[in-house]
Amino acid sequence: MISSKNFQFLTAAVIVVAMPLFMKSGSLASEVLIYALAAMACNLLLGYTGLLSFGQGVFFGLGSYTLGIVLTRLPISMPLALLGAVVVGGIGAAIVGWVAIRQRGTYFVMLTLAFAQMFYFLAYSLPDLTGGDNGLMDIPRKSISVAGQTLIPLETPWQFYGFVAVLFLIVYWMLRTVCDSIFGRTLLAVRDNEERAAAVGYNLRLLKLQAFVISGAVTGLAGALHALMTGIAPLSNAEYHTSEMILVMTVIGGTGNLLASLLGAAFYVLLGDWLSTLWPRWLLILGVVLMIVSLGMQGGLWGLCQKLAQLARGSRQARQDDDKSGAQGTGANGTNGTNGGHA
Protein backbone atom coordinates (compact mmCIF):
# COMPACT_ATOMS: atom_id res chain seq x y z
CA MET A 1 0.00 0.00 0.00
CA ILE A 2 1.16 3.49 -0.75
CA SER A 3 2.54 5.34 2.27
CA SER A 4 0.67 8.29 3.73
CA LYS A 5 3.61 10.54 2.95
CA ASN A 6 3.64 9.63 -0.71
CA PHE A 7 -0.12 9.76 -0.89
CA GLN A 8 -0.13 13.32 0.39
CA PHE A 9 2.63 14.32 -1.97
CA LEU A 10 0.69 12.84 -4.86
CA THR A 11 -2.40 14.72 -3.75
CA ALA A 12 -0.43 17.95 -3.73
CA ALA A 13 0.96 17.15 -7.17
CA VAL A 14 -2.50 16.39 -8.52
CA ILE A 15 -3.84 19.69 -7.14
CA VAL A 16 -0.93 21.57 -8.68
CA VAL A 17 -1.46 19.93 -12.08
CA ALA A 18 -5.24 20.24 -11.95
CA MET A 19 -5.35 23.94 -11.07
CA PRO A 20 -4.76 25.12 -14.68
CA LEU A 21 -7.67 22.94 -15.80
CA PHE A 22 -10.35 24.74 -13.82
CA MET A 23 -8.87 28.15 -13.14
CA LYS A 24 -8.89 30.92 -15.69
CA SER A 25 -6.12 33.08 -14.22
CA GLY A 26 -2.53 31.92 -14.04
CA SER A 27 -1.63 34.72 -11.65
CA LEU A 28 -4.33 33.64 -9.25
CA ALA A 29 -3.13 30.04 -9.36
CA SER A 30 0.45 31.18 -8.77
CA GLU A 31 -0.73 33.28 -5.85
CA VAL A 32 -2.36 30.22 -4.26
CA LEU A 33 0.92 28.29 -4.40
CA ILE A 34 3.01 31.24 -3.22
CA TYR A 35 0.84 31.75 -0.15
CA ALA A 36 0.70 28.00 0.36
CA LEU A 37 4.50 28.09 0.69
CA ALA A 38 4.22 30.80 3.33
CA ALA A 39 1.42 28.97 5.14
CA MET A 40 3.38 25.70 5.18
CA ALA A 41 6.33 27.54 6.70
CA CYS A 42 4.01 29.02 9.32
CA ASN A 43 2.55 25.57 9.92
CA LEU A 44 6.00 24.15 10.57
CA LEU A 45 6.16 26.55 13.51
CA LEU A 46 2.57 26.43 14.74
CA GLY A 47 1.54 22.88 13.92
CA TYR A 48 4.81 21.06 14.42
CA THR A 49 6.66 23.12 17.02
CA GLY A 50 3.84 24.86 18.87
CA LEU A 51 5.15 28.35 18.12
CA LEU A 52 2.55 30.90 17.10
CA SER A 53 4.49 33.46 15.11
CA PHE A 54 3.02 36.80 14.17
CA GLY A 55 6.26 37.74 12.49
CA GLN A 56 5.96 35.80 9.24
CA GLY A 57 5.40 39.06 7.37
CA VAL A 58 8.96 40.05 8.27
CA PHE A 59 10.40 37.15 6.30
CA PHE A 60 7.89 37.53 3.48
CA GLY A 61 8.82 41.22 3.23
CA LEU A 62 12.54 40.43 3.47
CA GLY A 63 12.18 38.00 0.58
CA SER A 64 10.33 40.57 -1.55
CA TYR A 65 12.80 43.35 -0.84
CA THR A 66 15.87 41.18 -1.33
CA LEU A 67 14.70 40.02 -4.73
CA GLY A 68 13.59 43.54 -5.66
CA ILE A 69 16.83 45.21 -4.62
CA VAL A 70 19.01 42.59 -6.28
CA LEU A 71 17.14 42.50 -9.59
CA THR A 72 16.73 46.26 -9.93
CA ARG A 73 20.27 47.28 -8.92
CA LEU A 74 22.70 44.45 -9.39
CA PRO A 75 23.67 42.46 -12.47
CA ILE A 76 22.69 39.18 -10.85
CA SER A 77 20.47 36.55 -12.42
CA MET A 78 17.01 35.73 -11.13
CA PRO A 79 17.74 32.24 -9.73
CA LEU A 80 20.57 33.69 -7.65
CA ALA A 81 18.27 36.48 -6.47
CA LEU A 82 15.74 33.84 -5.35
CA LEU A 83 18.47 32.02 -3.50
CA GLY A 84 19.49 35.31 -1.91
CA ALA A 85 15.92 35.85 -0.72
CA VAL A 86 15.91 32.38 0.85
CA VAL A 87 19.17 33.08 2.66
CA VAL A 88 18.13 36.55 3.83
CA GLY A 89 14.77 35.17 5.02
CA GLY A 90 16.61 32.52 7.01
CA ILE A 91 19.03 35.03 8.52
CA GLY A 92 16.16 37.37 9.43
CA ALA A 93 14.42 34.45 11.12
CA ALA A 94 17.59 33.58 13.01
CA ILE A 95 17.76 37.13 14.41
CA VAL A 96 14.06 37.41 15.29
CA GLY A 97 14.06 33.86 16.61
CA TRP A 98 17.17 34.34 18.71
CA VAL A 99 15.46 37.13 20.68
CA ALA A 100 11.87 35.86 20.69
CA ILE A 101 12.61 32.26 21.61
CA ARG A 102 13.99 33.38 24.96
CA GLN A 103 10.37 33.84 25.91
CA ARG A 104 7.50 31.40 25.86
CA GLY A 105 3.77 31.41 25.31
CA THR A 106 2.01 34.72 25.05
CA TYR A 107 5.17 36.72 25.60
CA PHE A 108 6.69 35.03 22.57
CA VAL A 109 3.67 35.88 20.42
CA MET A 110 3.76 39.52 21.50
CA LEU A 111 7.45 39.71 20.68
CA THR A 112 7.00 38.32 17.19
CA LEU A 113 4.28 40.89 16.55
CA ALA A 114 6.49 43.66 17.91
CA PHE A 115 9.23 42.53 15.52
CA ALA A 116 6.77 42.57 12.65
CA GLN A 117 5.93 46.19 13.50
CA MET A 118 9.61 47.02 13.91
CA PHE A 119 10.41 45.67 10.47
CA TYR A 120 7.52 47.56 8.94
CA PHE A 121 8.72 50.86 10.37
CA LEU A 122 12.30 50.02 9.43
CA ALA A 123 11.26 49.47 5.82
CA TYR A 124 9.25 52.67 5.98
CA SER A 125 12.18 54.66 7.43
CA LEU A 126 14.68 53.60 4.78
CA PRO A 127 13.15 54.82 1.52
CA ASP A 128 16.54 54.82 -0.26
CA LEU A 129 16.71 51.07 0.10
CA THR A 130 13.08 49.96 0.10
CA GLY A 131 11.31 52.73 -1.77
CA GLY A 132 9.45 53.65 1.44
CA ASP A 133 5.72 54.07 0.93
CA ASN A 134 5.83 53.25 -2.78
CA GLY A 135 7.89 50.10 -2.49
CA LEU A 136 10.23 48.89 -5.20
CA MET A 137 8.78 49.14 -8.68
CA ASP A 138 9.57 47.59 -12.05
CA ILE A 139 11.18 44.38 -10.93
CA PRO A 140 12.06 42.56 -14.16
CA ARG A 141 10.84 39.03 -14.81
CA LYS A 142 13.15 37.65 -17.47
CA SER A 143 13.04 34.11 -18.71
CA ILE A 144 15.82 31.87 -17.53
CA SER A 145 18.24 31.35 -20.36
CA VAL A 146 21.71 29.94 -20.89
CA ALA A 147 23.89 31.23 -23.74
CA GLY A 148 21.01 32.97 -25.44
CA GLN A 149 18.88 29.83 -25.37
CA THR A 150 15.66 30.18 -23.34
CA LEU A 151 15.48 27.30 -20.88
CA ILE A 152 12.47 28.28 -18.82
CA PRO A 153 10.18 30.93 -20.31
CA LEU A 154 8.39 33.08 -17.74
CA GLU A 155 6.57 35.56 -19.93
CA THR A 156 2.96 34.47 -19.55
CA PRO A 157 1.22 33.95 -16.21
CA TRP A 158 0.83 30.22 -16.90
CA GLN A 159 4.51 29.83 -17.71
CA PHE A 160 5.29 31.53 -14.45
CA TYR A 161 2.81 29.22 -12.74
CA GLY A 162 4.74 26.21 -14.02
CA PHE A 163 7.93 27.60 -12.54
CA VAL A 164 6.25 28.29 -9.17
CA ALA A 165 4.59 24.87 -9.22
CA VAL A 166 7.91 23.06 -9.62
CA LEU A 167 9.46 25.10 -6.81
CA PHE A 168 6.39 24.48 -4.66
CA LEU A 169 6.56 20.72 -5.09
CA ILE A 170 10.30 20.67 -4.36
CA VAL A 171 9.83 22.69 -1.17
CA TYR A 172 6.79 20.62 -0.20
CA TRP A 173 8.83 17.45 -0.55
CA MET A 174 11.69 18.95 1.45
CA LEU A 175 9.43 20.14 4.26
CA ARG A 176 7.70 16.77 4.27
CA THR A 177 11.09 15.12 4.68
CA VAL A 178 12.03 17.52 7.47
CA CYS A 179 8.77 16.81 9.30
CA ASP A 180 9.20 13.05 8.99
CA SER A 181 12.82 13.11 10.08
CA ILE A 182 14.02 12.58 13.63
CA PHE A 183 14.32 16.36 13.85
CA GLY A 184 10.65 16.73 12.90
CA ARG A 185 9.58 14.11 15.43
CA THR A 186 11.54 15.93 18.10
CA LEU A 187 9.71 19.14 17.21
CA LEU A 188 6.42 17.30 17.82
CA ALA A 189 7.72 16.26 21.21
CA VAL A 190 8.53 19.88 21.99
CA ARG A 191 5.07 20.92 20.87
CA ASP A 192 3.26 18.31 22.92
CA ASN A 193 5.14 18.72 26.16
CA GLU A 194 7.94 21.20 26.47
CA GLU A 195 8.89 20.26 30.03
CA ARG A 196 9.16 16.63 29.13
CA ALA A 197 11.22 17.33 26.03
CA ALA A 198 13.57 19.48 28.10
CA ALA A 199 13.79 16.81 30.77
CA VAL A 200 14.70 14.20 28.17
CA GLY A 201 17.63 16.42 27.34
CA TYR A 202 16.71 18.16 24.11
CA ASN A 203 18.10 21.61 23.53
CA LEU A 204 14.77 23.40 23.14
CA ARG A 205 16.18 26.75 22.07
CA LEU A 206 18.32 25.24 19.36
CA LEU A 207 15.45 23.11 18.05
CA LYS A 208 13.07 26.03 17.97
CA LEU A 209 15.68 28.25 16.35
CA GLN A 210 16.30 25.67 13.62
CA ALA A 211 12.56 25.41 12.93
CA PHE A 212 12.42 29.20 12.84
CA VAL A 213 15.25 29.46 10.32
CA ILE A 214 13.70 26.86 8.00
CA SER A 215 10.36 28.64 8.25
CA GLY A 216 11.95 32.03 7.56
CA ALA A 217 13.84 30.72 4.53
CA VAL A 218 10.70 29.23 2.96
CA THR A 219 8.69 32.36 3.72
CA GLY A 220 11.47 34.44 2.16
CA LEU A 221 11.16 32.37 -1.01
CA ALA A 222 7.41 32.93 -1.02
CA GLY A 223 7.91 36.69 -0.62
CA ALA A 224 10.44 36.75 -3.44
CA LEU A 225 8.14 34.81 -5.77
CA HIS A 226 5.32 37.18 -4.92
CA ALA A 227 7.49 40.17 -5.84
CA LEU A 228 8.56 38.42 -9.03
CA MET A 229 4.95 37.70 -9.95
CA THR A 230 3.62 41.23 -9.39
CA GLY A 231 6.78 43.06 -10.45
CA ILE A 232 6.73 45.17 -7.28
CA ALA A 233 7.92 44.75 -3.70
CA PRO A 234 5.38 46.93 -1.90
CA LEU A 235 5.58 48.13 1.70
CA SER A 236 2.34 46.22 2.33
CA ASN A 237 4.26 42.94 2.00
CA ALA A 238 5.92 43.86 5.30
CA GLU A 239 2.77 45.01 7.04
CA TYR A 240 1.03 43.46 10.03
CA HIS A 241 -1.69 42.47 7.61
CA THR A 242 0.65 40.08 5.78
CA SER A 243 1.67 38.33 8.99
CA GLU A 244 -1.97 38.06 9.96
CA MET A 245 -2.98 36.76 6.55
CA ILE A 246 -0.36 34.00 6.57
CA LEU A 247 -1.41 32.97 10.05
CA VAL A 248 -5.11 33.00 9.15
CA MET A 249 -4.49 30.76 6.11
CA THR A 250 -2.55 28.33 8.27
CA VAL A 251 -5.19 28.15 10.98
CA ILE A 252 -8.16 27.94 8.65
CA GLY A 253 -6.48 25.20 6.66
CA GLY A 254 -5.64 23.28 9.81
CA THR A 255 -2.42 22.91 11.76
CA GLY A 256 -0.13 19.93 11.94
CA ASN A 257 -0.44 18.96 8.30
CA LEU A 258 1.35 20.51 5.34
CA LEU A 259 -1.34 19.69 2.83
CA ALA A 260 -3.83 21.52 5.04
CA SER A 261 -1.84 24.72 4.45
CA LEU A 262 -2.32 24.38 0.70
CA LEU A 263 -6.02 24.03 1.40
CA GLY A 264 -6.01 27.08 3.67
CA ALA A 265 -4.10 29.23 1.17
CA ALA A 266 -6.39 28.17 -1.68
CA PHE A 267 -9.46 28.91 0.43
CA TYR A 268 -8.18 32.35 1.39
CA VAL A 269 -6.93 33.43 -2.02
CA LEU A 270 -9.86 32.08 -4.04
CA LEU A 271 -12.52 33.23 -1.59
CA GLY A 272 -10.84 36.63 -1.48
CA ASP A 273 -10.69 36.85 -5.26
CA TRP A 274 -14.33 35.87 -5.61
CA LEU A 275 -15.79 37.87 -2.74
CA SER A 276 -13.75 41.04 -3.02
CA THR A 277 -15.44 41.93 -6.30
CA LEU A 278 -18.88 41.29 -4.81
CA TRP A 279 -18.25 42.87 -1.44
CA PRO A 280 -15.10 44.81 -0.57
CA ARG A 281 -15.55 44.16 3.14
CA TRP A 282 -15.18 40.40 2.76
CA LEU A 283 -12.49 40.28 5.46
CA LEU A 284 -15.37 40.52 7.89
CA ILE A 285 -16.44 37.04 6.81
CA LEU A 286 -12.90 35.84 7.29
CA GLY A 287 -12.87 37.22 10.83
CA VAL A 288 -16.06 35.32 11.58
CA VAL A 289 -14.60 32.12 10.10
CA LEU A 290 -11.51 32.55 12.24
CA MET A 291 -13.66 32.92 15.34
CA ILE A 292 -15.67 29.82 14.46
CA VAL A 293 -12.49 27.81 13.91
CA SER A 294 -11.10 28.95 17.27
CA LEU A 295 -14.37 28.22 19.05
CA GLY A 296 -15.17 24.79 17.77
CA MET A 297 -13.65 23.59 14.53
CA GLN A 298 -10.09 23.38 15.69
CA GLY A 299 -8.86 21.08 12.96
CA GLY A 300 -9.71 23.76 10.40
CA LEU A 301 -10.75 22.78 6.88
CA TRP A 302 -8.43 19.78 6.92
CA GLY A 303 -10.09 18.54 10.12
CA LEU A 304 -13.45 19.04 8.46
CA CYS A 305 -12.37 16.95 5.45
CA GLN A 306 -11.13 14.24 7.78
CA LYS A 307 -14.43 14.22 9.65
CA LEU A 308 -16.36 13.95 6.41
CA ALA A 309 -14.12 11.13 5.24
CA GLN A 310 -14.62 9.45 8.57
CA LEU A 311 -18.39 9.75 8.26
CA ALA A 312 -18.19 8.29 4.79
CA ARG A 313 -16.18 5.32 5.95
CA GLY A 314 -17.83 5.13 9.33
CA SER A 315 -15.44 2.50 10.61
CA ARG A 316 -13.51 2.29 13.82
CA GLN A 317 -10.30 2.20 11.83
CA ALA A 318 -11.09 5.69 10.59
CA ARG A 319 -11.39 6.99 14.10
CA GLN A 320 -7.93 5.73 14.89
CA ASP A 321 -6.53 7.34 11.78
CA ASP A 322 -8.07 10.60 12.78
CA ASP A 323 -5.95 10.72 15.89
CA LYS A 324 -5.29 14.24 17.07
CA SER A 325 -2.05 15.19 15.38
CA GLY A 326 -3.72 14.17 12.16
CA ALA A 327 -0.47 14.76 10.38
CA GLN A 328 0.56 11.31 9.44
CA GLY A 329 -2.66 9.42 9.59
CA THR A 330 -0.79 6.24 10.45
CA GLY A 331 -1.12 6.87 14.16
CA ALA A 332 2.19 5.11 14.61
CA ASN A 333 4.39 7.92 15.79
CA GLY A 334 5.61 7.80 19.33
CA THR A 335 5.24 11.46 20.13
CA ASN A 336 1.52 11.41 19.82
CA GLY A 337 0.88 10.33 23.36
CA THR A 338 -0.36 13.44 25.11
CA ASN A 339 -2.48 14.86 22.31
CA GLY A 340 -1.57 18.22 23.72
CA GLY A 341 -2.60 21.55 22.44
CA HIS A 342 -3.14 21.48 18.77
CA ALA A 343 -5.88 19.88 16.87
Binding site: Q103, F121, L286, L290
Partner: protein, 286 residues
Amino acid sequence: MSIYLLQTINGIGIGMLYFLLAVGLSIVFGLLRFVNFAHGTFYLLGAYFCYQMAQWGMSFWLSLVVVPLAVGAVGWVTEKLILRHVYSKPHEFHILITVGFALVIQEVVIMIWGPLGDSVAVPETLNGVVMWGSFIYPKYRLFVIGFTAVLAVIIWWVLEGTRLGSVVRAGSESTEMVSLLGMNVFGIFSLVFALGVGLAALAGVLAAPIRGVSPFMGVEALGVAFVVVVVGGLGSFSGALVGGLLIGIVQSLMSTIWPPGASLMIYVAMAAVLLLRPNGLLGRQV
Protein backbone atom coordinates in the same frame (compact mmCIF):
# COMPACT_ATOMS: atom_id res chain seq x y z
CA MET B 1 12.27 77.29 24.91
CA SER B 2 14.37 74.25 24.19
CA ILE B 3 12.87 71.96 21.59
CA TYR B 4 13.99 68.96 23.62
CA LEU B 5 12.14 70.12 26.73
CA LEU B 6 9.05 70.68 24.62
CA GLN B 7 9.34 67.22 23.10
CA THR B 8 9.88 65.66 26.51
CA ILE B 9 6.64 67.21 27.74
CA ASN B 10 4.92 66.03 24.55
CA GLY B 11 6.36 62.61 25.23
CA ILE B 12 4.93 62.57 28.74
CA GLY B 13 1.50 63.34 27.28
CA ILE B 14 1.73 60.60 24.66
CA GLY B 15 3.28 58.27 27.22
CA MET B 16 0.32 58.72 29.54
CA LEU B 17 -2.00 57.79 26.67
CA TYR B 18 0.14 54.70 26.07
CA PHE B 19 -0.15 53.90 29.74
CA LEU B 20 -3.96 54.06 29.59
CA LEU B 21 -3.87 51.88 26.53
CA ALA B 22 -1.57 49.26 28.02
CA VAL B 23 -2.70 49.05 31.63
CA GLY B 24 -5.94 47.20 30.81
CA LEU B 25 -4.12 44.73 28.59
CA SER B 26 -1.57 44.12 31.31
CA ILE B 27 -4.03 43.63 34.17
CA VAL B 28 -6.31 41.38 32.13
CA PHE B 29 -3.31 39.25 31.28
CA GLY B 30 -2.22 39.20 34.89
CA LEU B 31 -5.60 38.01 36.06
CA LEU B 32 -6.36 35.16 33.70
CA ARG B 33 -3.31 34.78 31.45
CA PHE B 34 -5.56 35.93 28.64
CA VAL B 35 -3.96 38.01 25.94
CA ASN B 36 -6.34 40.25 24.11
CA PHE B 37 -5.30 40.82 20.50
CA ALA B 38 -8.45 42.89 20.09
CA HIS B 39 -7.28 45.47 22.62
CA GLY B 40 -6.28 47.96 19.93
CA THR B 41 -9.74 47.58 18.45
CA PHE B 42 -11.35 49.04 21.56
CA TYR B 43 -9.00 52.03 21.30
CA LEU B 44 -10.16 52.34 17.68
CA LEU B 45 -13.81 52.20 18.76
CA GLY B 46 -13.18 54.85 21.42
CA ALA B 47 -11.71 57.23 18.86
CA TYR B 48 -14.50 56.63 16.33
CA PHE B 49 -17.31 56.96 18.88
CA CYS B 50 -15.78 60.28 19.92
CA TYR B 51 -15.60 61.30 16.25
CA GLN B 52 -19.23 60.35 15.73
CA MET B 53 -20.38 62.32 18.77
CA ALA B 54 -18.45 65.33 17.50
CA GLN B 55 -20.24 64.91 14.13
CA TRP B 56 -23.55 64.96 15.96
CA GLY B 57 -22.48 68.22 17.56
CA MET B 58 -22.18 66.87 21.06
CA SER B 59 -19.54 68.15 23.40
CA PHE B 60 -16.15 66.54 23.86
CA TRP B 61 -16.73 66.43 27.62
CA LEU B 62 -19.79 64.28 27.15
CA SER B 63 -17.88 61.79 24.98
CA LEU B 64 -15.12 61.71 27.57
CA VAL B 65 -17.68 60.15 29.93
CA VAL B 66 -20.06 58.32 27.60
CA VAL B 67 -17.61 56.70 25.17
CA PRO B 68 -15.52 54.72 27.72
CA LEU B 69 -18.76 53.49 29.31
CA ALA B 70 -20.23 52.49 25.95
CA VAL B 71 -17.07 50.74 24.75
CA GLY B 72 -16.65 49.15 28.19
CA ALA B 73 -20.17 47.76 27.75
CA VAL B 74 -19.23 46.41 24.31
CA GLY B 75 -16.22 44.76 25.91
CA TRP B 76 -18.34 43.30 28.70
CA VAL B 77 -20.79 41.78 26.21
CA THR B 78 -17.93 40.45 24.05
CA GLU B 79 -16.41 38.78 27.07
CA LYS B 80 -19.74 37.20 28.07
CA LEU B 81 -20.69 36.08 24.57
CA ILE B 82 -17.43 34.97 23.03
CA LEU B 83 -14.27 35.10 25.05
CA ARG B 84 -15.33 33.07 28.05
CA HIS B 85 -15.80 30.03 25.86
CA VAL B 86 -12.10 29.85 25.05
CA TYR B 87 -10.52 30.35 28.50
CA SER B 88 -10.07 26.62 28.92
CA LYS B 89 -8.44 26.25 25.49
CA PRO B 90 -4.73 26.70 24.79
CA HIS B 91 -3.63 30.30 24.49
CA GLU B 92 -3.31 30.13 20.69
CA PHE B 93 -7.07 30.06 20.54
CA HIS B 94 -7.36 33.13 22.78
CA ILE B 95 -5.16 34.93 20.31
CA LEU B 96 -6.90 33.67 17.19
CA ILE B 97 -10.40 34.43 18.39
CA THR B 98 -9.45 37.98 19.38
CA VAL B 99 -7.65 38.44 16.05
CA GLY B 100 -10.85 37.33 14.30
CA PHE B 101 -12.89 39.70 16.42
CA ALA B 102 -10.52 42.59 15.70
CA LEU B 103 -10.82 41.89 11.96
CA VAL B 104 -14.61 41.94 12.15
CA ILE B 105 -14.73 45.22 14.07
CA GLN B 106 -12.20 46.87 11.77
CA GLU B 107 -14.29 45.98 8.72
CA VAL B 108 -17.46 47.21 10.44
CA VAL B 109 -15.73 50.51 11.20
CA ILE B 110 -14.80 50.83 7.51
CA MET B 111 -18.38 50.00 6.51
CA ILE B 112 -19.78 52.73 8.74
CA TRP B 113 -17.18 55.49 8.53
CA GLY B 114 -15.29 54.68 5.34
CA PRO B 115 -11.68 53.64 4.71
CA LEU B 116 -10.20 57.14 4.95
CA GLY B 117 -9.32 58.81 8.20
CA ASP B 118 -10.53 62.19 9.42
CA SER B 119 -9.57 64.74 12.03
CA VAL B 120 -11.36 65.62 15.25
CA ALA B 121 -11.46 69.21 16.46
CA VAL B 122 -9.91 70.14 19.79
CA PRO B 123 -12.71 71.18 22.20
CA GLU B 124 -13.19 74.95 22.16
CA THR B 125 -12.31 75.62 25.79
CA LEU B 126 -8.97 73.89 25.28
CA ASN B 127 -8.11 75.49 21.96
CA GLY B 128 -5.05 77.70 21.98
CA VAL B 129 -1.90 77.82 24.00
CA VAL B 130 -0.76 78.55 27.52
CA MET B 131 1.97 81.16 28.02
CA TRP B 132 4.12 81.49 31.11
CA GLY B 133 7.05 83.71 30.25
CA SER B 134 8.94 81.86 27.55
CA PHE B 135 6.96 78.66 28.09
CA ILE B 136 4.36 78.21 25.37
CA TYR B 137 2.35 75.02 25.19
CA PRO B 138 -0.98 73.86 23.69
CA LYS B 139 -3.74 73.82 26.30
CA TYR B 140 -5.20 70.55 25.14
CA ARG B 141 -1.95 68.65 25.59
CA LEU B 142 -1.54 70.05 29.10
CA PHE B 143 -5.06 68.93 29.87
CA VAL B 144 -4.26 65.40 28.63
CA ILE B 145 -1.23 65.21 30.91
CA GLY B 146 -3.17 66.46 33.94
CA PHE B 147 -6.26 64.36 33.29
CA THR B 148 -4.33 61.10 32.74
CA ALA B 149 -2.18 61.78 35.79
CA VAL B 150 -5.33 62.04 37.92
CA LEU B 151 -6.65 58.86 36.30
CA ALA B 152 -3.41 57.03 37.00
CA VAL B 153 -3.75 57.93 40.68
CA ILE B 154 -7.35 56.69 40.68
CA ILE B 155 -6.40 53.39 38.98
CA TRP B 156 -3.55 52.97 41.43
CA TRP B 157 -5.93 53.60 44.32
CA VAL B 158 -8.48 51.10 42.96
CA LEU B 159 -5.77 48.45 42.64
CA GLU B 160 -4.05 49.13 45.96
CA GLY B 161 -6.78 50.44 48.20
CA THR B 162 -10.02 48.65 47.36
CA ARG B 163 -11.31 45.14 47.83
CA LEU B 164 -11.68 44.70 44.06
CA GLY B 165 -8.06 45.70 43.65
CA SER B 166 -6.81 43.22 46.21
CA VAL B 167 -8.74 40.43 44.51
CA VAL B 168 -7.32 41.44 41.13
CA ARG B 169 -3.79 41.51 42.50
CA ALA B 170 -4.24 38.20 44.29
CA GLY B 171 -5.84 36.74 41.16
CA SER B 172 -2.87 37.71 39.08
CA GLU B 173 -0.62 35.87 41.53
CA SER B 174 -2.77 32.76 41.66
CA THR B 175 -6.16 32.47 40.02
CA GLU B 176 -6.73 29.04 41.59
CA MET B 177 -6.11 30.29 45.10
CA VAL B 178 -8.54 33.16 44.74
CA SER B 179 -11.28 30.92 43.42
CA LEU B 180 -10.62 28.44 46.23
CA LEU B 181 -11.25 31.28 48.66
CA GLY B 182 -14.74 31.52 47.24
CA MET B 183 -14.35 34.49 44.93
CA ASN B 184 -16.14 34.49 41.64
CA VAL B 185 -13.02 35.00 39.56
CA PHE B 186 -14.89 34.92 36.28
CA GLY B 187 -17.36 37.56 37.42
CA ILE B 188 -14.48 39.76 38.51
CA PHE B 189 -12.73 39.06 35.26
CA SER B 190 -15.69 40.32 33.21
CA LEU B 191 -15.60 43.52 35.22
CA VAL B 192 -11.84 43.96 34.92
CA PHE B 193 -12.01 43.23 31.20
CA ALA B 194 -14.70 45.90 30.76
CA LEU B 195 -12.58 48.35 32.80
CA GLY B 196 -9.44 47.66 30.78
CA VAL B 197 -11.32 48.02 27.52
CA GLY B 198 -12.96 51.23 28.76
CA LEU B 199 -9.53 52.68 29.55
CA ALA B 200 -8.31 51.80 26.05
CA ALA B 201 -11.39 53.58 24.65
CA LEU B 202 -10.64 56.59 26.86
CA ALA B 203 -7.13 56.68 25.41
CA GLY B 204 -8.80 56.65 21.98
CA VAL B 205 -11.03 59.61 22.88
CA LEU B 206 -8.12 61.62 24.26
CA ALA B 207 -5.94 60.80 21.24
CA ALA B 208 -8.58 61.65 18.63
CA PRO B 209 -8.08 65.47 18.70
CA ILE B 210 -4.29 65.00 18.54
CA ARG B 211 -4.01 62.24 15.98
CA GLY B 212 -7.37 62.08 14.24
CA VAL B 213 -9.15 58.84 13.41
CA SER B 214 -8.37 56.11 10.87
CA PRO B 215 -9.61 52.52 10.60
CA PHE B 216 -6.11 51.09 10.95
CA MET B 217 -5.15 52.94 14.12
CA GLY B 218 -6.16 49.86 16.12
CA VAL B 219 -3.31 47.76 14.77
CA GLU B 220 -0.72 50.41 15.52
CA ALA B 221 -2.15 50.87 19.01
CA LEU B 222 -1.96 47.13 19.62
CA GLY B 223 1.70 47.10 18.63
CA VAL B 224 2.42 50.02 20.94
CA ALA B 225 0.48 48.48 23.82
CA PHE B 226 2.49 45.27 23.44
CA VAL B 227 5.74 47.19 23.44
CA VAL B 228 4.69 49.02 26.60
CA VAL B 229 3.80 45.87 28.51
CA VAL B 230 6.85 44.01 27.23
CA VAL B 231 9.09 46.91 28.29
CA GLY B 232 7.35 47.47 31.61
CA GLY B 233 6.67 43.85 32.48
CA LEU B 234 3.42 41.92 32.01
CA GLY B 235 0.72 42.17 34.65
CA SER B 236 2.23 45.16 36.41
CA PHE B 237 0.54 48.54 36.91
CA SER B 238 3.75 50.43 37.58
CA GLY B 239 5.38 48.59 34.68
CA ALA B 240 2.70 49.91 32.34
CA LEU B 241 3.24 53.43 33.69
CA VAL B 242 7.03 53.36 33.43
CA GLY B 243 6.91 51.60 30.06
CA GLY B 244 4.32 54.00 28.69
CA LEU B 245 6.28 57.09 29.73
CA LEU B 246 9.59 55.70 28.48
CA ILE B 247 8.14 54.77 25.09
CA GLY B 248 6.25 58.06 24.77
CA ILE B 249 9.35 60.13 25.51
CA VAL B 250 11.58 58.07 23.20
CA GLN B 251 9.11 58.46 20.35
CA SER B 252 8.65 62.16 20.95
CA LEU B 253 12.36 62.97 21.15
CA MET B 254 13.10 60.88 18.10
CA SER B 255 10.50 62.75 16.09
CA THR B 256 12.79 65.78 16.43
CA ILE B 257 16.04 63.95 15.80
CA TRP B 258 14.95 61.57 13.01
CA PRO B 259 11.28 62.03 12.12
CA PRO B 260 10.86 59.04 9.75
CA GLY B 261 12.31 56.70 12.36
CA ALA B 262 10.28 57.85 15.38
CA SER B 263 7.97 54.84 15.32
CA LEU B 264 10.87 52.52 14.58
CA MET B 265 12.76 53.72 17.66
CA ILE B 266 10.10 52.56 20.12
CA TYR B 267 10.65 49.01 18.86
CA VAL B 268 14.41 49.45 19.06
CA ALA B 269 13.96 50.64 22.66
CA MET B 270 11.92 47.51 23.31
CA ALA B 271 14.61 45.25 21.87
CA ALA B 272 17.24 47.01 23.98
CA VAL B 273 15.23 46.58 27.19
CA LEU B 274 14.57 42.93 26.39
CA LEU B 275 18.21 42.13 25.87
CA LEU B 276 19.07 43.68 29.24
CA ARG B 277 16.02 42.57 31.23
CA PRO B 278 14.11 39.77 29.45
CA ASN B 279 11.11 40.09 31.79
CA GLY B 280 10.74 43.83 31.40
CA LEU B 281 11.80 46.64 33.69
CA LEU B 282 9.38 45.84 36.50
CA GLY B 283 8.22 42.38 35.48
CA ARG B 284 8.23 39.16 37.40
CA GLN B 285 9.35 35.86 35.97
CA VAL B 286 6.62 34.62 33.64
